[in-house]
């Protein structure tokens, strides 16, 4: 897994490339927890280059949702490939996360005048 983190005033974008599985979830979880502890309002997960995610990866998103929803924030999941989108549908998590086409669209939702990367 390759992980890129981009900080914005109210949101952090995590761009993840490759496989998010048992060997890589710990690294992502630690970085997400640091962002949550810094007080961000929104978390944007750019999954356009994500090839694999399992329930351990989903757990990080749900944990983030639980923390952010109490402060009025959202978890935004972007660019999910069709074959991965299936598990968001069957779990019903596509109804609690904001599903976006890409990170730019996500930033436009939370900061309508911004030009995000």
């Amino acid at each position: 897994m390759q992980l890129q983190e981009i900080d914005h005033p109210t949101a952090t974008v995590f761009r993840i490339k490759g496989r998010l599985d048992a060997s890589s979830t710990t690294e992502l979880e630690q970085k997400v927890l640091l962002s949550l502890d810094r007080g961000i309002t929104h978390l944007i997960m750019d999954f356009s280059e994500l090839e694999y995610i399992n329930s351990a990866g989903l757990r990080i998103l749900v944990m983030s949702y639980q923390r952010l929803s109490s402060r009025g924030g959202q978890v935004m999941v972007c660019g999910v490939r069709d074959y991965i989108a299936e598990i968001f549908e069957i779990s019903g998590y596509n109804r609690i996360f904001v599903m976006c086409q890409n990170a730019v669209q996500a930033m436009e939702i939370i900061e309508p005048s911004s030009n995000a990367q």
């Binding site: 599985d21 048992a22 399992n54 329930s55 074959y83 069957i90 779990s91 019903g92 998590y93």
Partner: protein, 147 residues
């Protein structure tokens, strides 16, 4: 033409990643559709993770054998482990839950139950045997959902 993938984990926690890499390679060699390859990897990943997390008894044999058969219209997965009795087919199934999202606890088995087109559990004398069938045809699509 059918093909089989046969992998035995003597030390599941240490060999889990190698299994998934080999399985991904098998899927590529067989030119499985990305969705089928993903479901295959995910189902095996979740079941082996479950064995490692809950099926370990100190001092007891933890060998797990994974046999995958790629057939014309489906992929069959057989998993045999020497752990305590555990029947995943008793885990609730509710594809596209109507009452909000599924709980995160037990999500791995929930996904397995919903991705499998068939799942049969048998308990041998001292082992669990699970046969899971994955259909190659696309499954019921979206639940977003007016059904």
């Amino acid at each position: 033409m059918t093909a089989t993938f046969d992998f035995t984990l003597a030390h599941p926690a240490q060999e889990h990643a190698a299994l998934l890499a080999a399985l991904e390679q098998f899927g590529e060699q067989r030119v499985l559709m990305p969705a089928v390859r993903y479901r295959l990897g995910l189902v095996v990943d979740e079941l082996i993770s479950n064995c490692i997390a809950h099926g370990t008894v100190p001092g007891q044999d933890m060998t797990i054998r994974i046999l995958v058969t790629d057939l014309e219209d489906k992929v069959e997965i057989e998993i045999t482990d020497a752990g305590p009795k555990f029947d995943p087919s008793t885990h609730p199934i509710s594809r596209c839950p109507e009452k909000g999202p599924a709980a995160i606890g037990g999500m791995g088995l929930y996904l397995v139950r919903n991705l499998a087109s068939d799942l049969v559990y048998t308990r041998g004398q001292s082992s669990n045997h699970l046969r899971i069938t994955l259909a190659k045809a696309s499954q019921e699509p979206e639940c977003n959902s007016r059904k």
